[in-house]
């Protein structure tokens, strides 16, 4: 588990690749998650679940609703970690 910005981005990319069964190389920070073949709402929620487990945080359904890229998801994680550390 990493908590620096680059590490979070890298680890989320790996989680997305695994959960959506796509090569990690095909994902960029700004890739639209909804555009990935096979990415339905259930699978995307599984991505969120894995992210929550990885950093031991709880993301609000409301916060992840408008998240559409790896970079945005990383942003939500950084915020949650700051809240947790505070």
């Amino acid at each position: 588990m990493t908590t620096d910005a680059d590490g979070i981005l890298r680890q989320i990319t790996e989680i997305v690749a695994r959960e959506l069964a796509v090569p990690a190389e095909s994902l960029a920070a700004d890739t639209d998650l909804r555009a990935i073949e096979g990415a339905d709402s259930v699978r995307l929620l599984r991505v969120v679940a894995k992210v929550e487990q990885t950093w031991d945080i709880e993301l609000d359904d409301e916060d992840v609703f408008t998240v559409s890229s790896v970079a945005e998801l990383a942003g939500v994680v950084r915020e949650a970690l700051q809240v947790k550390a505070a």
Binding site: S41, D61, T66
Partner: protein, 553 residues
Amino acid sequence: MRGTTLPGALDEAAATGPDIAVSFPSSAERLTLTALAARTTALARALVAEGVAPGERIGVFSRNNADFMTAVIAVGRAGAAACPLPLPTSAGDLAGYAARIAAVTSAAGVGRVLVGAGADGLTRRLAPVLPALRFDGIAGLVRSARDGVALPDVSPSDLAIVQFTSGSTAVPKGVVLTHRNVVHGTAAIADGIGLGVGDHGATWLPLYHDMGLFGALSAILTAVPMTIWSPSTFIKDPASWLRSFAEIGATVAPSPNFGYDALLAAVDPAEVAGLDLRRWRVALNGAEPVSPVTVQRFGAHFAPAGFAPEAMFPVYGMAEATLAVTFPPLGRPPVTTWVDRDRLARDGVAVPAPAGDAGARGLVGVGRPVRGMRLRIVDGRRRAVPDGTVGEIEIAGDAVTAGYLTAGGPPTALEADPAGERWLPTGDLGFLAAGELHVSGRRKEMIIVRGVNYYPEDAEALVRDAPGVYRRRCVAVADTDDSGAGAESLTVIAETTLDDAADRIRLAADLRVAVGSALGLAEVSVRLVAPDALPRTSSGKFRRAEARDLARQ
């Protein structure tokens, strides 16, 4: 005997089981029926004081929590009708979601929306783009309630709930349900599964979904303990949900077929033996086609945990019936009828075929009409057909809706036949075999994925104006499942003048993404055709049925 209105039925349940509780583990809330009834009375008083008019349609926008349940019943107590609004799923786009909420609230004539705990952040984002709606927090209203505000007399024929079966923007259709419908519908469910002392209901389905709402109400109005999780609790970790479900000793839980698949995938065989599912008496499986494969695997996989074969309970229902249409007999394991696939598809007849044969299609029997429900199978001229012949399923009864609220038009009501019976055409196709219903397909142009209905019109509206589509010409068709594997999808067929291969690949991908991301649906494919290839009528309308053949070429 229960009350004849939704709040009346709750008051009776609270008198029968004052300390019976409704629990919401995802929000750590627990209310006794007495407390729930009191809270609905307080909210109803506040609504009346706020000037809510009799028959007014009021949106309910909340997570699966105490506020949701309070609001749905309180609105009825205030003489108005509750319209549950869908919450967004993950990775939605705000504009598309706001458009769906706008379509639904406009069709239902909703001006006021009650906001539950945990939905305020979303409301802050939605409110500026939906200026026609007024959002009021439920907690604040409850606090403002004063005793002594007179509540109106509510009649069984008054509207209680307007239930939307999809978030479609193109064809929003609100099913109107009266208090009589709700009371009869929930009683029929309780009767069909023998709900009573010793039972404990459980659900993770969204309460804005008909199966979530009426399933939960069936237990509550029967004074049976009910536990309600948020859908994301289940979706994120189905295995831990199942452990909690087993720990509280729940006996009844509903799910669309995909939920049973999710549990199969999430719980290792090694973990199964550690679970105790002996108390799980009824596992309702409905809201989307029931797969014979899922039913068989689920029973075998969870048998070591004490899951009884007869607990799997494949059902047929819809919001229009205040949920339940047919239930199998209690205590009978699921039955799969095998018929000749070609004869069924080509001639509309169910001819027995060897189980598991390559040319055979297995259909899970969904039982017989529940108490108070009448059902018939009819041909294109609405004449009843014999057993074993496929036709449209029609229903009638005290739990069946009187009609729909649609965008821009008067409410559509069902017409009475010469015998005075108001038959509702369901749009579903099926046949009876030995009195038992088998659902074999769909007449209506729609697909169901994970219990959610999707309409081709919405896909068309999303891509019609995309660059590369020739003269806004595109048609979407629904590919429904006839394999038993549960694979339903939408195919978008668009005309284009592009002929460079790379351009065509890019256009197809763009269209798929546009539809998939706005609808939250992965099951979308795109087919590009030459200009003028889509068949049209003399008035220029697309012929959807013929277009479907293009999609399959």
